[in-house]
């Protein structure tokens, strides 16, 4: 049951209890009521309305039309009470008392403090207009009513927000638990079998080797899938670089990275990942089949560095500058452009016969003063 439902029920109880005030007052002062029958009729219709509107809220929730009707009825009851509950021995008649706060509570709970204050102001204004003008009583009543609307509205927002967060956290931890259970199961069974198929397939050779290779690919894919850690470490506004790069892991790419999340603000992380993709594309494009690439992810607090190394034929010094001069800007533009745009740097080291190494260093933006710059990589 949500917090709103609970509050709605509490308000219903309050409204019926608050009906006691005009009832008891009428009973005590029955002798001096100017119009006893009309008074009884009014109290009866207030009770009927209370029941009706509470039942409607229970069925339809806080519908706007219902809220307006409720406020209108409350205003009407306040106006009517000035005449129907008139007493012969004093200037002011009986009021509906705390009952009028019911509408304020409903407005505050459903719409927050501003709505709560509006409802309270409307009712107070009507009270002053029709029941004795501006005096000590009506003013203090108005202040109490407005305070009620303000505070209940505010607290409700806080409670609803807290509830939403709690529910999110619960869902997240349930998802994480389920995922971990699945991961364990998969480790225990599927991965073992896939690895076995790969192993035996390679030994038997021929078509079985192809099957083994496929099993190996699936194993890799499954492993990446179940080891995605974002569920375990929620990262607000940040991305785990390892997770973005994980998809590259496979037969021809080996990834080395820390065990803890490597966080960067989302934009930086994606830009870095895109640069890494370009570097790998480059290896695929320019190196012969069978070239292997290694990727190292490092986190030194101030920056995240990803190095992509291949064991391909490599390039002569100056080859990159030449390509850029010829107007072919593949590597230069897509890698350097992306990294340098955000203040990072790229170093390319290559020699014929020694492969190529591209080191991309993406700085961590300094947390803004005042903001909570929680970017520490620890757990």
């Amino acid at each position: 049951m949500g917090i709103e439902t609970q509050l709605r029920r509490a308000i219903t109880v309050f409204r019926f209890a608050a009906l006691g005030y005009p009832l008891v007052m009428c009973a005590i002062l029955f002798g001096v009521l100017v119009r006893p029958v009309t008074a009884l009729l009014l109290v009866a219709s207030i009770a009927l309305w209370t029941w009706l509107v509470s039942a409607s809220y229970a069925r339809h929730g806080f519908k706007t039309s219902l809220l307006y009707a409720d406020l209108a009825a409350t205003v009407a009851a306040v106006v009517a009470s000035a005449w129907a509950l008139e007493l012969s021995d004093r200037t002011a008649g009986i009021s509906v008392g705390p009952w009028q706060a019911g509408a304020v509570l409903v407005w505050a709970v459903s719409g927050g403090r501003r709505r709560g204050v509006i409802a309270a102001a409307v009712i107070s204004a009507v009270t002053m207009l029709f029941r004795g003008g501006i005096n000590e009583n009506t003013v203090s009543e108005a202040i109490l009513l407005i305070l009620t609307g303000l505070m209940v509205g505010h607290l409700t927002r806080l409670a609803v927000e807290a509830e939403r967060r709690m529910r999110q956290a619960a869902a997240r931890s349930a998802a994480a638990r389920e995922r971990e259970r699945l991961a364990r199961d998969i480790h225990d069974s599927v991965l073992q079998v896939l690895a076995l198929v790969q192993r035996r397939g390679n030994e038997v050779g021929g078509e079985a080797a192809e099957l083994g290779r496929l099993a190996g690919q699936q194993e890799e894919a499954l492993r990446t899938l179940i080891s995605s850690e974002s569920y375990r470490h929620p990262l607000d506004g940040q991305r785990d670089v390892r997770e973005l790069l994980g998809k590259h892991s496979g037969e021809s790419v080996t990834i080395a990275a820390p065990a803890v999340p490597v966080r960067l603000p989302s934009r930086y992380a994606h830009q870095l990942a895109a640069a890494v993709s370009s570097a790998l594309d480059n290896v695929r494009e320019h190196c012969p089949e069978g070239t292997h690439a290694w990727m190292l992810v490092e986190d030194d607090r101030n920056a995240v560095t990803v190095t992509v190394r291949d064991n391909g034929p490599g390039m002569a010094p100056g080859r990159l500058a030449e390509a850029a001069a010829e107007g072919r800007l593949g590597v230069a533009q897509s890698i350097q452009g992306r990294i340098e745009e955000l203040g990072g740097e790229v170093v390319v080291v290559s020699a014929p016969g020694a492969g190529t190494e591209v080191e991309m260093r993406m700085p961590r933006p300094r947390p803004k003063a005042g903001g909570h710059g929680d970017t520490d990589g620890g757990r």
């Binding site: 073992q192 030994e203 820390p258 065990a259 290694w294 490092e298 986190d299 607090r301």
Partner: protein, 212 residues
């Protein structure tokens, strides 16, 4: 050739591996499926290398590693289906000499077994990346904690291992002997294991487990 023991709860796996190792000329002294059994058997037979799965029905592989401690002459090579970085780090910190995934080829397994039997650590690029990351994580830990540090040379070597260079290639690049490269790598692991043991002891003392 070396004396080996295979500990894995998966019978097909156990058989496949011990057959491969046997065919390669090694002597497999026992094949077991449970952690406690394995502990007794390792202490009794003292094989050169125990090939250990992390997922065992009674004790976990890491618990077996911790129970073995340093006074045992057997080196442990973990062969696990799990590539989860936490599992890998924990096993290595608990004293494993190497960590291979079950998807490793027979040739890779044989090479790893021979290297571990010779007293060397088996560092895959992935493991090097994890160890580098762990040192950096520890460097950011609260200052009162005793934390292990890598020398500049060690960092350099580990980075090259993580980037997929072989010890030979690293040696050529840094003008060192392959033996020296191996020593550097070994030391990075040793310091981490020592730190881990010290922490476990401290934890035990702080929580009164030691008094028993």
């Amino acid at each position: 050739m070396a004396t080996l023991m295979v500990v894995d709860d998966h019978p097909i796996w156990r058989d496949a591996i011990s057959r491969d190792l046997g065919e390669a000329g090694h002597e497999v002294v026992a094949c077991l499926g449970e952690g406690r059994q394995a502990l007794t058997a390792i202490r009794q037979h003292q094989p050169q290398v125990a090939i250990l799965d992390l997922q065992l029905p009674d004790l976990s592989g890491v618990e077996v590693l911790r129970a073995l401690g340093e006074d045992c002459s057997t080196e442990v090579l973990v062969l696990s289906a799990s590539g989860e970085s936490d599992d890998v780090l924990e096993a290595v910190k608990a004293g494993a000499r190497g960590y291979l995934l079950k998807s490793a080829s027979t040739a890779e397994l044989l090479e790893a077994v021979e290297r571990v039997a010779a007293g060397d650590a088996v560092f895959t690029p992935g493991l090097a990346g994890l160890v580098l990351g762990e040192y950096r994580r520890l460097a950011g830990a609260p200052a009162e904690e005793q934390r292990p540090r890598l020398s500049e040379r060690e960092t350099e070597v580990l980075r090259l291992v993580a980037k997929g260079l072989t010890y030979k290639e690293i040696a050529a690049r840094l003008y060192l002997s392959p033996r020296t490269v191996q020593n550097h790598v070994q030391r990075t692991l040793g310091k981490l294991q020592l730190h881990n043991r010290a922490q476990l002891v401290r934890y035990a003392i702080e929580h009164g487990i030691d008094e028993a």
